[in-house]
C-alpha cells in the first residue's frame, strides 16, 4: 500500500466527515465544539509557521490573536459593518506583526522567545489598563455575527460551515506556502541559517515575511474567535493563551500540517468535553502531554505515523512470504 494512496484516502474520509459533521455528531453543543477546534487549529497552524517551519518559538502569539479580535470587536461595538471590522482587524494584526517582527528578530532562540513573551505581556497590559479603549476586564460584547450572502451565522450549524470554509482556505494556503520555494527557504533558515546567508539568501527578510504570514493567519483565527464567543476580554491576550497554543503545536507535532490540528483537537476536547466527565481534567491533560513526549517526542502526528509504520513493518516481517519479499520498500 503506497503512502500517498493512504494519505489521499485519509484526507478524503476526513473531508467527508467534516463536511457532514452537523448530521452525525448529535447535539448542537458538539457542532459548537467542532467550530472551536477549527479556529483553534487555525491559530495553532499560524504559530507553527514560526515554530515548526522557521524554528522560532514565540510565546507572544496570543497578542496577535487578540489584537485582531479586539479590533474587530471594538469596531463592531462602535457600530461599523462586518467587512470594515474584518479588514481593519487584518490590517491591525499585520501592522502589529511588523512591530513584533522587527523587535523580536533581533535575536533567535531563547532571546526571541523572551522578546515575544514581553511583547505579548505588554499588549495584555494595554488591553487590561487602557479601559477607556478596551473596557478593561469587563470586555467587549459583540452583538451580532456577520451574514455573508444573506446567510446569518447565528446558528451553530451555519457558523460551523463558515468556519470550516475559512479553515480549509487557511489549510490550503499554508500547504501552498510550505510546498513553495519560499517555504523551502524558510525551512532553510531554520536548519542552516549561515549556509543560507552564504548562498545569498536574506535570512532576516525571509523570517520577517514568515512572521507576517504567521501573524495574518493568527489574526484570522482571532476574528473567528470573537465572532464565535461574541465577547473578548484581556484573558485572550494573556500568557496562558500563548502557552496553550504552543502546547497544541508541540504536542501535535511541529513542521507538519496535521500536527497543530491534532494538538488543537486534543486541548479543546479535554478542556470542554472531557472536563464534563473528569473533574481533574487538567491533571489528565498534563499526563497526556507527558505521555506524548515520552513515547512520541516529535509530536502526536509524526509519532503516530512512525509507530504505525513500525507496527506495519513488524506485521509484514512476521508474515512475509516469497511474494511480499519481492516488493521494494517505498522510501520514507
Amino acid at each position: 500500500m503506497s503512502g500517498r494512496l493512504i494519505r489521499a484516502a485519509v484526507i478524503a474520509i476526513a473531508g467527508i466527515a467534516l463536511a457532514t459533521l452537523p448530521f452525525w455528531v448529535g447535539n448542537a453543543y458538539y457542532i459548537n465544539i467542532a467550530s472551536q477546534i477549527l479556529f483553534w487549529a487555525v491559530f495553532a497552524l499560524s504559530l507553527n509557521i514560526l515554530v515548526g517551519y522557521a524554528g522560532l518559538v514565540s510565546l507572544g502569539h496570543a497578542g496577535l490573536f487578540g489584537i485582531a479580535g479586539y479590533t474587530a470587536g471594538l469596531l463592531l461595538e462602535g457600530g461599523h459593518g462586518h467587512l470594515t471590522a474584518i479588514f481593519a482587524a487584518l490590517a491591525a494584526v499585520l501592522a502589529t506583526s511588523v512591530i513584533f517582527a522587527i523587535l523580536s528578530l533581533r535575536s533567535t532562540g531563547i532571546g526571541f522567545l523572551m522578546i515575544t513573551l514581553a511583547l505579548g505581556q505588554i499588549l495584555w497590559g494595554i488591553a487590561y489598563r487602557w479601559a477607556t479603549l478596551t473596557n478593561g476586564d469587563n470586555g467587549v460584547v459583540v452583538r451580532s455575527r456577520p451574514a455573508p450572502f444573506g446567510i446569518v451565522l447565528t446558528s451553530p450549524t451555519s457558523f460551523y460551515y463558515a468556519t470550516l470554509i475559512v479553515f480549509l482556505l487557511v489549510v490550503v494556503s499554508i500547504a501552498m506556502f510550505v510546498r513553495s520555494p519560499f517555504g523551502a527557504s524558510v525551512r532553510g533558515t531554520r536548519d542552516q541559517p549561515r549556509r543560507m546567508t552564504a548562498l545569498g539568501y536574506h535570512v532576516w527578510l525571509i523570517r520577517f515575511i514568515a512572521f507576517l504570514l504567521s501573524g495574518l493567519w493568527a489574526g484570522v483565527a482571532g476574528i473567528l474567535f470573537v465572532y464565535y464567543n461574541q465577547f473578548i476580554s484581556p484573558q485572550v491576550v494573556a500568557l496562558q493563551t500563548s502557552a496553550e497554543v504552543l502546547l497544541m503545536v508541540i504536542s501535535g507535532g511541529t513542521a507538519t500540517l496535521l500536527g497543530p490540528i491534532a494538538g488543537a483537537a486534543i486541548v479543546v476536547i479535554m478542556k470542554n468535553v472531557v472536563s464534563a466527565y473528569i473533574e481533574r481534567w487538567n491533571l489528565v491533560l498534563g499526563i497526556i502531554f507527558v505521555a506524548i513526549i515520552s513515547f512520541m517526542p516529535e509530536g502526536l502526528v509524526p509519532g503516530s505515523v512512525r509507530l504505525s509504520k513500525m507496527g506495519w513493518r513488524l506485521f509484514r516481517d512476521r508474515y512475509s512470504s516469497a511474494v511480499l519479499s519481492n516488493v521494494a520498500e517505498p522510501p520514507p
Binding site: 523587535l103 531563547i110 523572551m114 514581553a118 505588554i122 504536542s251
Partner: protein, 286 residues
Amino acid sequence: MNLWLTLAVNSVALGGLLFLLSAGFSLIFGLMRIPNLMHGSFFMLGAYFGVTFLAKGTNFWVAALASGAAMAIIGGLVERFLLRRLAGQELPQVLLTLGLSFIVSDICLMIWTGDPIQPSTPSSLQGAVQAFGIYFPIYRLVIVAVAVAVAVALWLMIDWTRLGAMIRAGVDDGPIARVIGIKVSQLFTLIFCLGAALAAFAGVMGSPILSVYPGLDIDMLPLALLVVILGGTGSLLGAFVGSFVIGFLYNFGQAMFPDLAYVILFLPMLLVLVLRPQGLFGRVVS
C-alpha cells in the same frame, strides 16, 4: 513613613527573594540549557511541603531544608527518567515541563485545596527595624542575608571546587569531558536536583511574605525568567545583579508610575534584549 527609604530597603529585600527564586532556574537553564518551565511548580510545591512540615511543628529552617531535600529527589527523578532522553531538544523539553507543571498544580489543588496558606514568620525573626523614620520587618532583611549566603556558596562551588570544574567542563564540551572520564549525565542530574532544591527552599523562605496558593507557580515563573534573561543566561552574577535590578524597578516603578504597573518590568527587559540580546552579564552564545 519615609517613602523613598522604605522603597529602597524593600528593593533590596525583594531582590534577595528574587535571587533565591531564580538561582535554581539560572543553574538549570544556564548550565544545562533546559528551559525548565516547571520551576514555578518546584517553588510552589516546595512551599506547600514547607507549610505542611510547619503545621506539624518543625522548626522553620528545618522545614525549608527538608522541603529542599524532598524537591531534590523529585527533581532528580524527573531529570533521570523523563528529561534525560530529550537532551538538546528544546521544544519537547518545553512540552514536558509544562505538562508536568499542569500535573503538579492540579495535585496541589487536590491535596491542599484552593485556600491560601500563609505561615507565620519564624518567631525569632519577627519584629521590625525602626530607624531613620522607617519601620521594616526583620525577616525580609534576613532573606537578603540568606540570598547572599546562597550566592556565595554557589559561586564557591562552581568556581572553586573540583565538582564545579567538572560541571563547567561538562557544559562547555560534553563529549570531550566524557572522553576524559567525567560522568556528565550524572552531573547534570545533580545540577537539576540542586536547582529544584533551591526553588523549594526559596518557596518556603518566601511563604511568610507571598503566602502559598493555587496559581503561585504561574505568578512566580515569569519573574524568574525576567531575572535570568535580564541578568544574562549562564551567569550566576547576572542572576544576582538582575534580581536586585528587578527589585528596584518593581518597587520604584509601581510607586512612581502606577499606570505602567503591568509593563514596568517587561519594558526594561525588552530594551535589554533588543539592544543586548545576551543580557547584562551573559556570554554571547553562537
